[in-house]
């Protein structure tokens, strides 16, 4: 429950503060969103599985965001930024879907 509130607080902070995202950071924002969602869904699923581990969650969250950003950065430098962004979105998207399905099985038993 508390983490849910923390997520909500984060969202509200982001909306209220409405910080101007510098132009060079803009390409990373969608990727960061997908990576963050992946970590959050993974964490929730692990918690429901009874496997949650604080260290794994924090490290996977930070590394997910950083690695995703790094891949996009490298892709931009190599001229394949769009394709690598797609790759990141596909891989993380599959994981998000898989975890969401596992969460659904836990919650609805279906």
């Amino acid at each position: 429950m508390i983490p849910a509130f923390a997520l909500l607080i984060g969202v509200i902070l982001g909306l209220v503060l409405d910080p101007t995202v510098p132009l060079w950071l803009q390409p990373y924002l969608p990727i960061a969103v997908v990576a963050a969602l992946d970590a959050v869904f993974g964490g929730v699923r692990a918690w429901l599985d009874g496997l949650f581990d604080a260290k794994v969650f924090v490290v996977s969250f930070v590394s997910n965001v950083l690695v995703a950003a790094l891949i996009v950065f490298l892709g931009d430098k190599l001229g394949v930024g769009g394709q690598l962004s797609t790759a990141v979105v596909v891989v993380l998207g599959i994981r998000i879907f898989g975890n969401a399905a596992a969460i659904r099985r836990h919650v609805f038993r279906a």
Partner: protein
């Protein structure tokens, strides 16, 4: 893919199946195993988790705010264009007003000049009759106000986005031919001067559709379309009893379009906008200047 894996073990295809099947980070399972066997690691407590979750939420919120801020740039351009169109339309209306004033002055001066001679008086009479008939001069008098409007919007699904929107059903849209029919009906009922949406009709005025807008004399008019006609006493009763009125009354009941007749004691119709002098002949040949 599964048969391939069954025969050859964790080969390249295994990477994809692992991706599809093992959606939970394996690190969780390993950490759980470590917890079972070794001492618990207390350095990563709930506070770090909360901080990470807040940051995750922050990313979502910022991304939302950023996307929302970026999207309206096209909308802003559109609004700026709309404002410019409105400004220029207002300027055009001002100029039109000025033109009408000047035209009235010219007409008065013409009358003065003509009425100075006996011969001129007949000419003046003729000129002013023609001017009223052709829409060069603003007129006022008793008449009929016909209001035609689109049917009230109904909730439907947007064909492009699939989102529910309020839209006028196609059968309830007033088209240019509807306005043409009403105007023709009014002429037939004996109207002497007609204006649609405040645009006086002259003999060359067009009523036509451009895209989704109806243009009268190349100026857009929108629903409700007010058609004002000045005519004799018979106008109201003759139009109300006409086929056109009967037909649109039926459309009103069938499709829900607005069709409303109100007789008015005084209607003020402006002069027509586009009345260029196209043809003129010398007075001596009994063919006075004709304006269109």
């Amino acid at each position: 893919m599964s048969t391939h894996r069954a025969t050859s073990g964790p080969q390249p295809a295994g990477m994809i199946t692992a991706l599809l099947e093992q959606t939970l980070d394996p690190a969780y399972a390993e950490a759980a195993q470590r917890r079972d066997t070794g001492p618990a690691d207390h350095r990563w407590n709930a506070r770090a988790v909360l901080a990470a979750v807040v940051v995750a939420g922050l990313i979502l919120g910022v991304a939302y705010a950023d996307t929302r801020a970026a999207a309206p740039s096209s909308e802003r351009t559109r609004l700026a264009l709309v404002a410019e169109v409105q400004r220029e339309t207002a300027l055009g209306a001002d100029l039109q007003q000025r033109l009408e004033e000047l035209r009235a002055e010219v007409s008065l001066a013409l009358d003065d000049a003509l009425t100075a001679t006996r011969d001129g008086r007949a000419q003046a009479e003729r000129v002013s009759t023609l001017e009223y008939a052709s829409g060069v001069l603003a007129v006022s008098g008793p008449g009929l106000r016909v209001t035609v409007s689109d049917a009230p919007p109904e909730e439907t699904l947007d064909p492009v986005t699939g989102e529910p929107i309020d839209a006028v059903p196609e059968a309830g849209l007033v088209l240019d031919i509807d306005l043409q029919a009403v105007v023709n009906g009014l002429w037939a009922a004996g109207a002497e001067a007609i204006a649609v949406g405040g645009q006086r009709l002259s003999s060359t005025t067009s009523i036509r559709t451009a895209g989704e807008a109806i243009l009268v004399d190349f100026r857009p008019v929108t629903s409700p379309y007010v058609v004002e006609a000045i005519g004799g006493e018979q106008l109201v009763s003759r139009f109300a009893g006409s086929d056109t009125a009967a037909r649109y009354d039926a459309y009103r009941q069938l499709y829900g379009i607005g069709f409303d007749l109100v007789s008015a004691d005084t209607l003020d119709l402006p002069a027509a906008a586009d009345t260029d002098l196209r043809f003129a002949g010398p007075v001596a040949r009994e063919q006075p200047g004709e304006t269109k």
